[in-house]
Symmetry: C3
Subunit: 676 residues, 3 copies
Amino acid sequence: MHERVLFGAAYYNEYQPDDRLEQDLDLMAAAKFSVIRVGESVWSTWEPENGRFDLDWLQPVLDGAHARGIAVLLGTPTYAVPPWLARLYPEIAGERKTGQPIGWGARQEVDFTHPGFRFHAERVIRKIVERYAGHPAVIGFQVDNEPGNELLHNHGVFQRFVDSLRHRYGDVQTLNDEWGLVYWSHRLSDWADLWTPDGNVQPQYDVAWRQFQADQTTEFIGWQADIVREYKRPDQFVTTCISYERPAMADDELIRRLDVTAGNPYYAMQDGLLHPQTEPASQGWTTNGTWALYLSADRMYSSQQRPFLVTETNAQSIGYPWDNRPAYDGQWRQAAWALVSRGASMIEYWHWHTLHFGAETYWGGVLPHNGRPGRTYQEIARIGAELEAAGSLMTGLTPDSDVTMLYSLPSKWLMQKYPPLSHEDGSPDRQSYQGLFDPFYRGAFDAGLQVRILHASQFTGSVQDHPVLVVPGLYLADDELLAQLVAYAEAGGHLVVGPRTGYADREARARTDVQPAGLAAAAGVSYDEYSNLTTDLRVLGFGDGAVATRWIDGLQVDDADVLATYDHPHFGRWPAVTTRACGDGRITYVGTVPSPALAVALFRWIRPSPAGDLPGSVTVTSATTADGRRLRFVHNWSWDEVSLDLDAQARDVLGDVVVDGKLDLGPWDVRVLLDQ
Amino acid sequence: MHERVLFGAAYYNEYQPDDRLEQDLDLMAAAKFSVIRVGESVWSTWEPENGRFDLDWLQPVLDGAHARGIAVLLGTPTYAVPPWLARLYPEIAGERKTGQPIGWGARQEVDFTHPGFRFHAERVIRKIVERYAGHPAVIGFQVDNEPGNELLHNHGVFQRFVDSLRHRYGDVQTLNDEWGLVYWSHRLSDWADLWTPDGNVQPQYDVAWRQFQADQTTEFIGWQADIVREYKRPDQFVTTCISYERPAMADDELIRRLDVTAGNPYYAMQDGLLHPQTEPASQGWTTNGTWALYLSADRMYSSQQRPFLVTETNAQSIGYPWDNRPAYDGQWRQAAWALVSRGASMIEYWHWHTLHFGAETYWGGVLPHNGRPGRTYQEIARIGAELEAAGSLMTGLTPDSDVTMLYSLPSKWLMQKYPPLSHEDGSPDRQSYQGLFDPFYRGAFDAGLQVRILHASQFTGSVQDHPVLVVPGLYLADDELLAQLVAYAEAGGHLVVGPRTGYADREARARTDVQPAGLAAAAGVSYDEYSNLTTDLRVLGFGDGAVATRWIDGLQVDDADVLATYDHPHFGRWPAVTTRACGDGRITYVGTVPSPALAVALFRWIRPSPAGDLPGSVTVTSATTADGRRLRFVHNWSWDEVSLDLDAQARDVLGDVVVDGKLDLGPWDVRVLLDQ
Amino acid sequence: MHERVLFGAAYYNEYQPDDRLEQDLDLMAAAKFSVIRVGESVWSTWEPENGRFDLDWLQPVLDGAHARGIAVLLGTPTYAVPPWLARLYPEIAGERKTGQPIGWGARQEVDFTHPGFRFHAERVIRKIVERYAGHPAVIGFQVDNEPGNELLHNHGVFQRFVDSLRHRYGDVQTLNDEWGLVYWSHRLSDWADLWTPDGNVQPQYDVAWRQFQADQTTEFIGWQADIVREYKRPDQFVTTCISYERPAMADDELIRRLDVTAGNPYYAMQDGLLHPQTEPASQGWTTNGTWALYLSADRMYSSQQRPFLVTETNAQSIGYPWDNRPAYDGQWRQAAWALVSRGASMIEYWHWHTLHFGAETYWGGVLPHNGRPGRTYQEIARIGAELEAAGSLMTGLTPDSDVTMLYSLPSKWLMQKYPPLSHEDGSPDRQSYQGLFDPFYRGAFDAGLQVRILHASQFTGSVQDHPVLVVPGLYLADDELLAQLVAYAEAGGHLVVGPRTGYADREARARTDVQPAGLAAAAGVSYDEYSNLTTDLRVLGFGDGAVATRWIDGLQVDDADVLATYDHPHFGRWPAVTTRACGDGRITYVGTVPSPALAVALFRWIRPSPAGDLPGSVTVTSATTADGRRLRFVHNWSWDEVSLDLDAQARDVLGDVVVDGKLDLGPWDVRVLLDQ
């Protein structure tokens, strides 16, 4: 627990064409920076030749930071191997397809499981950490960077995959049976028969392959963390920075090898933060939409169910050369407080400078290319001052939640190859898991509710912690989890089930049970069939504008109340939404992917917003401070000035005034209120 | 000739997680199934290790079927090679590009021409067929499955391609001359100079390459059929199941090596069967549109100009995981009777179960994943009962036709690489042959006419059999065929010529003749130039809504009547449609790709529908029974109830009642009437 | 200087299935052809086997042409290597990615830098040129054809690239510093560390790589030209034909090794020539739009700032099999006179015949496939007659210009990999340089102005020659050039700067200066930030319909007049267009990509059209004859007849009548007027 939310940026003095260290650090201090991240990208600077080390260059940076009270997060440089290492051991090049090495030239191109890489990585890590662990500025370590970027198809990786299957299943006959390899003549006679992933079309194989890939990343990061722990002080932490959409990474498993969660939420600025949006929003490598920014924050919280560090987020603007969209005035501040409200205990921009060379020349920093503090700096300095003023009140927040959602990485991975949803043109939607999950999250958010996300493995069944539990798209689920969901409802919880949940077991085998498997009896509905939707359907029973999209379960009501139906001569025979009391609780089944309007109406029925009626562009989130007090964060995501009535007196933390009655917000404004 | 139309499904007992053989067969019997197809996908079950065979497992299936009077179609498993074979002989992996083997993991990945494959394939075929040919349930054999899936670029295949050219052309100078290899410095000095197909841009090469690929498939299937014939009883037949869009397959040639045509028509259900459609419909791997379902049936009939087996068609719904669209009530029944009306003597669904594992987990069977008979089963059982009631009346039907269309596989293949049509964005339309052919087929269908399709090689010139002959897109045509077309008109036929017909000779050389080559004098029109259309043009002379699309021939009238023109300052100089008496017959030239409305108007002018005026959603097709009586099949492809007036008394075969006067059809309904 | 503008076509008698040489030449003579191009595509005819030459076949063509007064441009056949050479030396196959040879089968597939290729190329060149250089018909030579088609990744090419860097930078430390290789651990320890271009993401590398590739083409063409010069007569010229969008070609550098510029402008016909267009027009491999046809002509002029030859342009229509769009009557004539008006001293169609075989079967010639002169021939013969009548008046024209634009190939190349602009769907626009440059060119053209294009290297700073200088997208610029631009304004020029100009130095390093670097003080504006535009913005101050698209520089006004602003709560803080007097001249800064309407309004403000008010579809361009007289070329690019008032008496050169007062033009008409 720090005295205040850490605030700063990644800092690469070594990338600057001219020496401007002192000037930079002074500007940071003026912007109330308290942390920088350094050193993670320059192995070839630490070790310009094989075995020749140059470790001194960072000393002035650490000293200068320390002199100004700025703490340092020190990175290990393993994600970017030097060209001499690539030259010496071409066999460490990663392969995206068997036998097709990735050309060197960017970063994260190598098979990080290869001993040739590991030997050199360990040596440079030990050199750097040994040298600087004792520096008083260093508060923690980041090992590697955004790991899990590739599904490695290298020979050694594949052979260990086969070994891992041998260890799990024992003999090929068991694998033949478990994976259904009778199908299409896939039965193995020996482990040597196993085909490489390139030609695989078997979902069962894909489940194991994706988990194995995530395991490699967990093992690699854990291995690095353990090396660092040999050197670090007890007050220093070890983490890595997580990019949550990396294909070979399971954040909940990875984080067990580390001390604290650190994530890199990037988001579309400008009109990308308008709220509410009226259309479904496509998510790219950044999130798009206010609700999606909160979703990214809630996912970071979910890795450990604890506050987290933001190691990277948009400074000037982040994107490709063709996608520069720096924020409108106020938006940086809004985003920072949004992240803090959901549990961020550090906000670190990427990055301080803007690079003059290299692939990321247009990933804009706090300073523009000319190095002069401009609008971005001013906007960010304003946040620094506010965070300093807020001080320890903001550390260790527990963000509130009204509803809980279960998240399933294995289901998401599988749906990337076997998506249940299509795009409008009929082509497969590789983001089908998000296509099932996000509309529910967004509906809750737009209905004024706050969401806690749990990895399925973290679910304890507690009704008290989770009065409402929403579970869409949990395609891969074992019997125990399905039973636990029913038990949760019986114990008083409100279980809301969405499409595709429980359909398959942990081997991605479609269940032979009546669907929704394990839940049908308790939910009072069942289905034999389902349909993709070519066109949206009007839904009757949840107000105007409620629409079913993309998918319909053909629900037969055994014993449940029908809340909504479809306006269609065929699909109209089936209900869209049903609900049934179940023990002390309730199970509601949603048989389609709800449109934004349907999702909002659904969540308004499930649970009224604690914030009451608000102007359309206003969101209110809340959190409990470490000492048990309550904070509310009021945002206005629009160009229009808005007013709202407060139900109770509160202190405006940022303005340090008491607010009683009417609260006025300007364009793209945010207020932080402490309940009195 | 069987006593009734065979009815059933592909049955894979071996794929089920639990034993439910007896239950399944009882359910089939209750649904009046008379046939199942078995065994074609599980080589690794027949032969789990190299040379170790396990042949017993199928016995209970055959015995159980036989006990219930269900016949069996037994497959050879060669389309899915076991992993041990792939491991032993990696050289049998097929190559889509020279030197780039297809990764093992799906099926049909191998070079089926390779002796290493052939040796093992022959051994397993002989084992299976020897064992089961004598079983009383077995009525026939399916060798392999949907062959011709790949254009194999393997070394041996290419070398035999060179040999085949050497055998045909004799010496390279002849090839240089015939192929025009003076162009771009392509003249060969020796056969060893011939380039591989990867870099080829020469149409003449492509013609030979595609025919050679189809020949490989014909030879392979014939080889298998001949092996089976060594064991089969005289009452048993040999076939393979044809997927008509396979790139390396010529159905008319392939079928000469087999006893009966068997095809796998899959079609879009739900709104995909609405009739009439108002827009051009894109065809995917399934057909899309009622007219397209009939087109697929008429193509199956065309392989041999004889009734055919439907070895596979949609059960619950067929598609990718993202494309589940099970039929509306009634649609299965409509499709089954549509297929029967066009000559199907077997309807076999794919498949009985729905798979719990593997790539086709979402290719839904008659039973859903839970194994309980549901809506699909009930709908299909209704058809079983109707077919049983109809009995031998429906076997050996000759479907009626009002117009005949010539089909050219070589033209279609060439247009996949050198398409004359573009998509709206200007990119090439690889389905250009269909883009030329289908609008005419659809126009005839929508005008209430029935179509007989002939492979160009099957055309005899008979005016009596083919009073109207429609020929669009016959790009590759030899002089004899063109002369035959003129002779047909002179003998009294009505020849309707569409764009691109006769433009090139059999080597895909653009002809030096005045175009339409060989036809210009008889048609009374000629053209020097043509144009793609960027935007549609209004056509004057064929009623409102008639539109020219995609292509225009710049027709100059030498001696013909102009039926329609274009509304355009440039294209308006040329007629859109002309006609000219020619001997005892007539030649009509259509210089554009007609819009649906133009095509319907054109066919209404060519030949009135024998069914007269019908409600828009109603189609009437007809056939002659084996004993010379006439059947009419009346479909209503919509949600609306419709009534129509019958011109004569008829017996409703399905309801076994006499219909006189008004005929009422419900939504998605079909009636089968026997003329009294 | 020839007596008249040369007029003719590429002629490939050797491609014809039948001998029609005499007939062809007679038809050419009747169409007043004065030139043909021959021989450049048939190495395998010149040398059917390694070292066996057949040189006689061309003799009748040259003799026949000479007998009819038709001159000949003789090509060397090196762009299409024979199959025997590909077979003997597979190592000469070009590679688009390292280690992935291009399959033989088209042309331009080889690594033309490889000695194995050079040896054979030199031998065949010498044989052909030695044989025919003395023929009286031959007026010049074309070496190779449209060079620079591939970025060659072959081993030898890459190694010489490394050598070239070693020669330029001396040691790796200098390269590390200059390229910023500290970034992402890219510092080299040795030249052997340099990565291949396949995996490169470093812009600095890309700048060098693209220049090196262009250098290879320049060296190769120069090498060929020097060989030809050993044989040619003094009155003969050497050129190559340039396709201006080739990736590995710098026309201004290439042309220094040749005697005269020759280019191949292809353009969309039919509605592609409507003027004015109202929408942004996408450019494919042909130009699209009247303005774009003129742009292609002005780029040809820019290679040497001298008149040029048109070696190829559309005959019947040029395109892929799916893109046949032969011109409307009059359009060929319009295009020919448009090219002549901008400096073409030869118009040569591609090609005389239409091919009956090969990849270009649908690249239509003057004659259609049937070899009969048709509409295209008649239209082209009309031009031949007019050019003959116009005679020497049209040779050596200097096209007029009202504004000058700077062109930067290095900036264009870099933006292909690092584009600043996106498509509407957010994907990168690899034609971003054109996206910045073309709207300004088009705006000038649509405003009735004529444009002179200068390669940045050709800019002398002359105000007299270039009273207005427009510079958008000049991303890569050295300090000297930026200083020269300011000096130009100070000396009295009107400098118009567009987005991205001057942002980076010659190594593509973003500058540390205040932007626009080197220009900010003189322009009186500066910016720290910029933004891509997701949606267009209304611009206030330049009339109705003025719109900002795609990009905005966040201009801060230090000392300039604001001419236009954005209608937006965020972007509205910045001006769209500013202007400031600077010395004796002026600098106008345009901070966005102007819509067509904004660009026209901008240029109307910059400089009124000398042609005054014209009907919308009319353009007037002008040129000075060799003897100092003035020609005006008046086009009507529409179906509508138009009239305009002449300000002075003129002679209608084509009709040989005097025009005084009103000038009437028919649809797709053109008049050429000589001022009296």
